[in-house]
Symmetry: D2
Subunit: 338 residues, 4 copies
Amino acid sequence: MVVILKRNTSKEQTQEIIHWLKELGNIEVNPIYGEHTTILGLVGDTSALDINRVNSNPHIENVKRIQEPYKRANRKFHPLDTVVEVSGRKFGGTELQVIAGPCSVETEEQIIEVAQKVKESGATLLRGGAFKPRTSPYSFQGLGEDGLTLLLKAKKATGMPIVTEIMNINHLPLFEDVDVIQVGARNMQNFEMLKELGKIDKPILLKRGLANTIEEFLMSAEYIMSGGNEKVILCERGIRTFETQTRNTLDISAVPLLKNLSHLPVIVDPSHASGLPWLVEPLSKAAIAAGADGVMIEVHNNPPKALSDGAQSLRPSEFDVIMKKLEKLAEFEGKTIG
Amino acid sequence: MVVILKRNTSKEQTQEIIHWLKELGNIEVNPIYGEHTTILGLVGDTSALDINRVNSNPHIENVKRIQEPYKRANRKFHPLDTVVEVSGRKFGGTELQVIAGPCSVETEEQIIEVAQKVKESGATLLRGGAFKPRTSPYSFQGLGEDGLTLLLKAKKATGMPIVTEIMNINHLPLFEDVDVIQVGARNMQNFEMLKELGKIDKPILLKRGLANTIEEFLMSAEYIMSGGNEKVILCERGIRTFETQTRNTLDISAVPLLKNLSHLPVIVDPSHASGLPWLVEPLSKAAIAAGADGVMIEVHNNPPKALSDGAQSLRPSEFDVIMKKLEKLAEFEGKTIG
Amino acid sequence: MVVILKRNTSKEQTQEIIHWLKELGNIEVNPIYGEHTTILGLVGDTSALDINRVNSNPHIENVKRIQEPYKRANRKFHPLDTVVEVSGRKFGGTELQVIAGPCSVETEEQIIEVAQKVKESGATLLRGGAFKPRTSPYSFQGLGEDGLTLLLKAKKATGMPIVTEIMNINHLPLFEDVDVIQVGARNMQNFEMLKELGKIDKPILLKRGLANTIEEFLMSAEYIMSGGNEKVILCERGIRTFETQTRNTLDISAVPLLKNLSHLPVIVDPSHASGLPWLVEPLSKAAIAAGADGVMIEVHNNPPKALSDGAQSLRPSEFDVIMKKLEKLAEFEGKTIG
Amino acid sequence: MVVILKRNTSKEQTQEIIHWLKELGNIEVNPIYGEHTTILGLVGDTSALDINRVNSNPHIENVKRIQEPYKRANRKFHPLDTVVEVSGRKFGGTELQVIAGPCSVETEEQIIEVAQKVKESGATLLRGGAFKPRTSPYSFQGLGEDGLTLLLKAKKATGMPIVTEIMNINHLPLFEDVDVIQVGARNMQNFEMLKELGKIDKPILLKRGLANTIEEFLMSAEYIMSGGNEKVILCERGIRTFETQTRNTLDISAVPLLKNLSHLPVIVDPSHASGLPWLVEPLSKAAIAAGADGVMIEVHNNPPKALSDGAQSLRPSEFDVIMKKLEKLAEFEGKTIG
């Protein structure tokens, strides 16, 4: 951490600040006296140091963090890739996972039919929403517990592990047979939920918030990991920008950046990122080419009748065409799907 | 709602789509046939119509909403200002409220001292964080339930109503004696929490999410109101942009826009918007000049020692200077503080 | 400037880097050796040091600038406010200027009528576009040189100084009798134009680019000032964000920030920032309350017939109502308009 | 175009507005009368209709454009891909172009050495900056005309066509032997420059502005094309967002979107988008996988000594490794480089 003092700070005040900083944490403080500016270099473990608290000193002009504030999610301290295994499917390493399924679980036939079809096409996990975050209180909110029951039936019928979103930590007992619990973008900084998910032993698919930086994203992973649960899968799903042609802007650079800063597996959700089904193919290919460990794609057996987000869903036949291309690209990249 | 069909849509397909749309909701559908494009004008109550579902039809190029999707929060249906009363203090109308206090409650002396000082300076409600949303799991997370107890002591000592943030809906029973429950920016779209807060009879201070549009903000208010609780106070606290000189960018236009689109009271939090204590004065003045019903200001008795966010806090003496100016500006605007 | 070295940098490599940095500029380099990280503190005049060039060294992880890269625009080196005078009207100090007029000059009657009306209402300078930047090549591009001639007639008829935009530096000779030359948002980083405007002796109204930071804004002022022309008036006119209710998002914090970082006068353009005429009043008031030295308001005698941007224009009668309020607010702030 | 009238608009006023709209352009106007809202559907060629002018009518609440405002750049009117040929290299179709070279031309040896090396590695065009847009007036501004001379020497020495940026339209005569003229991001809306470039018969590489929408990008292409020059190559180079890990955020979705909306070739600049040389490989691969017609990569023979933007440059040896991978990916995609 580097602390820049204000212009008129006296030598005595500087000494006081050095003393105060040393008390705040177990750190060394090295001053550099310039003509106009004094810089303090803080050396040691500054991750517990509160940058806002340091900044509050009236003699301090600016504080710049130099080390990443995350530890357990940090590749510097865990150079090897973390591989998160879900019933034999590996996130990370040389396997690619394709999670597919409808935005919302609607009926037993629907979820089972979609599950069977995406499995035939080569998808490795089944997704489906039981509890749905909806901007409007008047929109369909998902089938809730009944939706989970239907998902589990589809799991039994196909043998595919299931991924579904939790919206209320009180629902956790209902997720016992769920294979991967998803934290949606809007809950990425629901810290109370993250803390609870840190206490369980189940993979968490953590989606990036639509206005959250990569550092904040990794800090949210850190919340889960600091509780003891290190099975975190990161998911880039688009950020909010001024561009309106796509629902969000897929931050493709986030894939290699996250893989570089962290050892956790990284997947991409092109369906939510773009909101346009015809963009799923090029964006999935871009994700794999950029190094992603998987993709998450919405597929519905009858998109125009979908009760939520049908607009971004593919038909099973369209998904099948894309899967063939992704399999070839995976092979080109020296990876295998599944 | 206006639906634009794709270029090559046949008359038969158009008839089918019209039929399908009529089934989706209790609406009339009027087609306009252009040379290249057919437009369908949907008339009636389209608020329950899911724009994504409509969009999912493969013959539909685009759907544009014309009416606001919120009703209870909509000024068109409630032309008069809603005034939310908190122990005699009125949000809305000709009164301005100034909510002041520390970011976090730390000790009994601290919160009582700050409460007394801001009351002397003219603040009308006391704020203080017991449960704190922190980006890092290693930062101070607030005193929790003990913090609430201390806040209630400060309320008793000064008679000021208190405002504090809820982070976990399971904590609701602890908030019984809290006067205004705050929903933080990161929870603005924690829909499960909003639904629960819609069932109680207590004012809710709803902060705008840092990447949420004004429409989404009003939809979150709608979540609370649709549950029956119409005592919602909106708070603009800055949005996330590319500019880094301020922590967030205060969207001052949101004040007159929200007052125009909705009948709910609107306040501004210049402390969190800017992250810089010296900007609190100009931004508070701007807020009042733009028509805000109040401001929310962080004050700490000893900012450099504050356990969280001291950087953006003012000292009581600085707050006192600002209050004198805000009182004069309020008078100039034909309003009174408190 | 602070330079952070990569983890595995050896002592010898560190010495080489220190040597290399000293050669790049007339600076001192002070190393701080931490357990994992070495930090170099660069002391001296680093404003000519190219941060990207420093960053290119393969052993360097990160470079952080500590001093502002602008000098002539920097308040640290010019503590007193710069007052830019235009035919007796002062930008900066205790005067507020209100620049009013139509988006485009259209006819002689139009511009003279608007000029007379806004003058009667108290406006102090006349604006009007002769060369118009338009997103579409098919939109009205302004009357060009004829527009300038009409503006000068309006100047003669009313005695008001005129402000108009330059879009092509080759047109400069045509601007001889123009009082203030405006550089539009889209040309804020047209560095070739800025250099030429630095060579003349005429006030420049520099608008902030819609995606430019405050630092970049001041660097563009520095371009003009480094050429010798120190008569720069800064104009905040909204930045591009995700919010779509307003055309741009007025960054009200930019007003006190710019006044703090720089000694140059700062005005606000609420018409372009919002694109909504009914927001001009609250935003103008907010600007003045936040410390702006003036506002720039679009007024058209017949907005629905305006050939460009009529949507954001006020009628003269509406402008008159606003002026009365702004005059009172100016008085409240201890300032006078004009 | 769809026009939504305000709630209280009478039938007479509606008739007047319909009449007024018909006068504005050669269009049909179809009203739809709802319970609360009247919608007018405008049918015909609305591209010349000024949306702001329509919006300015006091009875109009909102105007929504339905057809794209660009024609010559619009794929709807030119279904086949445009192929821009530069000395036998084709942008568009089944060829991929790799433009490589240093940010700035510095010396004869430098540019010739880099040119020879990137040619050996398989690059198909040479880039190099002679006139450099720099945020600071104190940074190296490029060698100017001398830089162009050196570039032409490198062209002669290697036979590679050259791409270089124009910053001042008055310099156009100097660009006679330049093969592709680049318009930089900061000049994307320098409409005066675009108009002049529309009059010549030479390929233009148009970079997307850092805060410009895809529609604005295509409108700038339209400026050039409406002047008669249809040889426009679009270049996505990152947009400005809140994320700070990368210099800009590469909008990978822009590639398939632009290819879908327009018939023009689209390339990607991963060097400027990210500002990080190690991201060039994954982002180039993502670009090709998403359907780009080429990439533009910065290569410098000695990055730490580069006078500008060395930070984002690759060494020739690093570029060589990447080229081998891109060639294989091109082959996988059924394309060839060069």
